[in-house]
Amino acid sequence: MITKEDVEHIGWLARIEISEQETVEYMEKLNSVLEYFGQLDELPTEDVVPTYHVAEIYNVFREDIVEECLPQETVLANTEYKQDGTFRVPKIG
């Protein structure tokens, strides 16, 4: 069972602001889903290897050559927050 404090902590980790009222709503809905996930506990898996993906591909390499990329102005075209060829954001702390 996750608590209100857990929801607040996860919200911080995921960088999603959650209001006091939302915390309770999330707690209830998330617990009902986690309870459902709990059914996996009944299945023994000690000797089973995990499957991260099913493509039978391992290392994918390419030649280390510079290829054409998007021009700076194109990359910056989707935001109004920019300055001197960079994205502009508020200070960290």
Binding site: A14, I16, L43, H53, V54, A55, N78, Y81, G93
Partner: protein
């Protein structure tokens, strides 16, 4: 011009009239739409069609219109993924599948509605409001590619692209009475497709018949170095369109006919299996004991991958931004305001499943269960050529009916999500109606054995008339 046309008929019409007239006719039908299937209709479609008329084009889809799900990047058209957080974002590059379509001569009609970031089975979580099912406007079209399925079913596009992470092509195909294919993982490049859960998803076609699915696959499938999971299978999809299933061995996994299945769905699927038998195929029951754990495993993996993939939406480089006194506040407020409830729920659950102390209990456990589900498919498909089951256990539900309880909605993916865990190909084809609502037959095959899957689907279509049924409400 007929409202519903195959790609072959569209091409005839283009020769008879012009690409411009054909596109104009589709735009006219879209203008009278009752389903809210498009989030954006392209203002350049007519001009593009006109250019194909004047300059000529020798591609296999010269002048043929198509609709694209709103999570596949098209230069010059918004790519909103049904979310406020991507408000105003216009991709500066085309997805690999769009490059392929454009060089084949296709005309893009517009972008289609979807559950926000493809997280849903009903297309109700879109920022642009729900899409209606053309068969009953009070019902959902399925999801998350609900817009793509609805516009094909409503005659607003001859075919469309969707994406399928846990059933997002096959579920709406079943609910809207069209054909939808989830290709083998790796068959179609995901470059330029906004990632939800990248170890599970594939771009897939939706159309009114199996031949059009094969035509589209011949265009979009193939190797792309920009997707590190891309595999060159060298399959020629249209060659699979053979009306013959003699000697084919079909497995019927009883776990896909579980509790809560609608009796008419069960009956329609068995009728289909018996039809195959009458056409010379054989069938046997097979058991896949770990299927009952697939849904939980699928959701843990999908949410975990989503929590990582969606970290990029932080208001910095594109889309919606909320102001905040510092970086963390800006990002946290932007994501609180920009994402809808279901997306936030999945990010929070995924973050939790990956967090210190819970990683082994949830994420690692789910990956191990994935191995067991994959082994069930391997074992079953070693004995038989194909597996057949209902795509959805029930027909389309009412808009608003399931949206309040996430778990109820998740349970509707029970027959589709195991396929994504295993990465195998699977197609949904119409196999009947119940109370005027379509039922989908799901045909699953071995990895990269789309030819057998499509051959079976094509043969069914050639010997039945379910795929010719049209929704009366939009006729």
């Amino acid at each position: 011009m007929a409202k519903w046309m195959s790609v072959a008929q569209v091409k005839e019409k283009i020769i008879e009239d012009s690409a411009e007239e054909v596109t104009a006719r589709y735009l006219e039908v879209i203008g009278k739409s009752k389903v809210n299937g498009y989030t954006k209709v392209s203002e350049k479609a007519l001009e593009h069609a006109r250019r194909i008329d004047s300059e000529g084009h020798d591609g296999p889809l010269a002048g043929v219109p198509i609709a694209i799900k709103d999570n596949i990047s098209v230069v010059g058209l918004p790519n909103s993924c049904g979310s406020k957080i991507l408000e105003g974002y216009v991709p500066p590059f085309n997805a690999h599948v769009i490059e392929k379509l454009l060089s084949a001569g296709a005309v893009i009609l517009g972008k289609t509605n979807m559950d926000e970031f493809a997280m849903g089975s009903s297309t109700e979580t879109s920022y642009f409001g729900p899409t209606a099912n053309p068969w009953d406007l009070e019902r959902v079209p399925g999801g998350s590619s609900g817009g793509s399925a609805a516009v094909v079913a409503a005659g607003e596009a001859p075919f469309a692209l969707g994406s399928d992470t846990g059933g997002s092509v096959r579920c709406p195909a079943a609910f809207c009475g069209v054909v939808g294919l989830k290709p083998t993982y790796g068959a179609v490049s995901r470059y330029g497709v906004v990632a939800y859960a990248n170890s599970l998803e594939q771009v897939g076609p939706l159309a009114n018949n199996v031949a059009d699915i094969a035509i589209l696959m011949d265009v979009i499938a193939g190797y792309d170095g920009r997707d590190s999971t891309s595999i060159d299978s060298k399959i020629e999809y249209q060659k699979a369109l053979v009306d013959d299933v003699k000697g084919l061995k079909i497995g019927v996994p009883k776990e896909f006919f579980g509790e809560g299945i609608h009796p008419d769905v069960e009956k329609a699927v068995w009728n289909a299996i018996h039809k195959y038998e009458s056409l010379g195929a054989t069938w046997e029951e097979v058991s896949m004991p770990n299927i009952k754990y697939a849904l939980a495993s699928y959701y843990i993996i999908a949410m975990s991958e989503a929590s990582s993939n969606l970290a990029r939406f932080d208001g910095t480089r594109y889309g919606f931004r909320e102001s905040g006194e510092n970086w963390h506040a800006m990002v946290s407020k932007t994501r609180a305001e920009g994402f809808g409830t279901e997306v936030k729920r999945r990010i929070l659950l995924g973050t939790y499943a990956l967090s210190a102390g819970y990683h082994d209990k949830y994420y690692l456990k789910a990956l191990k269960v994935r191995t067991l589900v994959k082994q069930d498919f391997d074992k079953a498909l070693a004995k038989v050529d194909l597996l057949m089951a209902p795509t959805m256990p029930n027909p389309a539900f009412k808009i608003g009916e399931k949206i309040e309880d996430p778990l109820t909605l998740y349970l509707s993916d029970v027959n589709t999500c195991p396929i994504n865990l295993a990465g195998v190909p699977s197609v949904s084809v119409p196999c009947g109606l119940t109370d005027g609502l379509p039922i989908g037959l799901q045909i699953m095959g071995k990895p990269f054995d789309e030819p057998t899957v499509l051959r079976a689907a094509y043969t069914f279509e050639q010997n039945t008339d379910y795929h010719t049924k049209r929704p009366p409400e939009v006729a």
